[in-house]
């Protein structure tokens, strides 16, 4: 099997969408599944965090976040100058690619688990930390010289947004309760995780299929960007992981975080903070191309890169 089996569910959803099946997963189920996944990922991270000294993560966290902010800063000129996209669209897309995709992270964890490559649960902390900064950079890029941003609304939108609340809340509960306290909940939050992920990917496939039309309008430049940007960001992740002395598994996860593009927090935040940006472009690229690319080719690629560069770097 070249693929993680869960990816087959994504492909089934994609196929169902393409043949215009009447299969529809109700929006409410999408909501419920995403709440489940965010909370479960947070809890798992929190339980593992309880086994570590949180302070040890401070320096890596600073580096990881600092380097991540380079991603939107590098994407913006490419999109604006090279791709001739309007400032607002370039900034919004840059923000999507600087932020992270929770499900891509989950598939990467699952990929590592099925190859028995160990990775640390506290990587979830980086997942939570990486969501916001790129969005701020994106809004800054869109508004440079115009300065009428409602930063407080934006910060509230993201920090009180469901992904941060559930990830951070899960981390905290897991950390407070510890493995023993969480054990009675394992049957739901851990045992069901992969099956629920499969369901969610089925739904994501349906949603992504609906986005393919947007891409025709977006043109070949954006399609190329949506494949090349994650590869470059993934490489940056592998290098950063090497610099920080991360294990192979952690390196793959960091590369995946850098390479992934947000489609939960970013669209909502950009719609409010940079309303003149066209969401069809940013979501079309991140969900229509980068998400499937990462699932099917990106994650194995980052694994390969991390395996080979680790020898070189260390």
């Amino acid at each position: 099997m070249p693929f993680e089996p869960v990816i087959l569910f994504f492909m089934l959803g994609l196929l169902a969408g393409v043949v215009r099946s009447d299969l529809k997963i109700p929006g409410v189920v999408y909501e419920a599944l995403s709440i489940f996944l965010l909370l479960a990922i947070g809890l798992k991270g929190g339980v593992e965090l309880a086994r570590h000294d949180v302070l040890e993560l401070a320096v890596p966290a600073l580096v990881v976040v600092g380097v991540a902010m380079l991603i939107p800063l590098a994407c913006f000129p490419v999109l604006h100058k090279l791709g001739r996209l309007p400032r607002s669209d370039a900034a919004s897309i840059a923000a999507h690619y600087g932020s992270v995709s929770v499900v891509t992270f989950a598939v990467a964890s699952s990929f590592l688990a099925s190859r028995a490559v160990p990775a640390d649960g506290y990587m979830t902390v980086f997942l939570a930390l990486l969501e916001l900064p790129a969005l701020l950079v994106g809004v800054f890029l869109a508004r440079r010289g115009q300065g009428q941003v409602q930063w407080s609304t934006l910060l509230h939108e993201v920090l009180a947004g469901k992904s941060i609340v559930l990830l951070a809340g899960g981390l905290l509960i897991g950390w407070l309760a510890g493995a023993d306290g969480i054990r009675p909940l394992d049957r739901v939050f851990f045992d069901l995780f992969k099956g629920m992920l499969a369901f969610f990917l089925l739904e994501m496939g349906l949603v992504a299929a609906g986005r393919l039309g947007d891409l025709r309008r977006a043109g070949p430049f954006l399609v190329a960007f949506a494949v090349l940007a994650p590869i470059c960001a993934g490489l940056l992740g592998v290098l950063t992981a090497g610099f920080l002395g991360f294990s192979l598994g952690n390196a793959v996860l960091l590369a995946t975080l850098y390479a992934s593009a947000s489609y939960i927090a970013a669209p909502a935040a950009m719609r409010i903070a940079v309303p003149e940006a066209n969401p069809a472009l940013s979501i079309g690229a991140s969900l229509g191309i980068t998400f499937p690319f990462n699932l099917m080719a990106g994650i194995p690629l980052y694994h390969w890169l991390a395996t080979h560069l680790q020898g070189v770097l260390s």
């Binding site: 939108e157 949603v207 609906g210 669209p267 409010i272 309303p275 069809a280």
Partner: protein
């Protein structure tokens, strides 16, 4: 018909679901005393919005109000939201009970 009824306006707004948090306070600011909201899907110039996830869902908001408030809501929508968002508004004549409430 029932003499208890008084003429008012019913303003109906259909827009992207993401706008909810931004729009509701604006309606209040223009003088709306209440609203009724249903989840919706749809299609317009910006393509199909199929409700599969929040980013492609619509909401449908109704406000009962007097002429003046209806005019202010329409103007506010035109100034603040029409350029950037998928939004449709229409106004209908309606008769209500307890006119002081709206």
């Amino acid at each position: 018909m029932s003499p208890a009824l008084t003429p008012k306006k019913l303003v109906t707004i259909v827009c992207e679901a993401e706008l909810e948090a931004l729009l509701l306070p604006e309606l209040k600011r223009q003088g709306a005393r209440g609203y009724t909201l249903t989840e919706a899907r749809g299609q317009g110039d910006r393509g199909v919005r199929d409700g599969a996830w929040r980013a492609s869902s619509n909401i449908r908001i109704e406000v009962l109000c007097d002429d003046a408030v209806a005019g202010k809501i329409v103007d506010m929508l035109q100034t603040r939201f029409y350029a950037d968002y998928g939004i449709v508004v229409f106004v209908v004549d309606a008769s209500v009970l307890r006119p002081a409430k709206f």
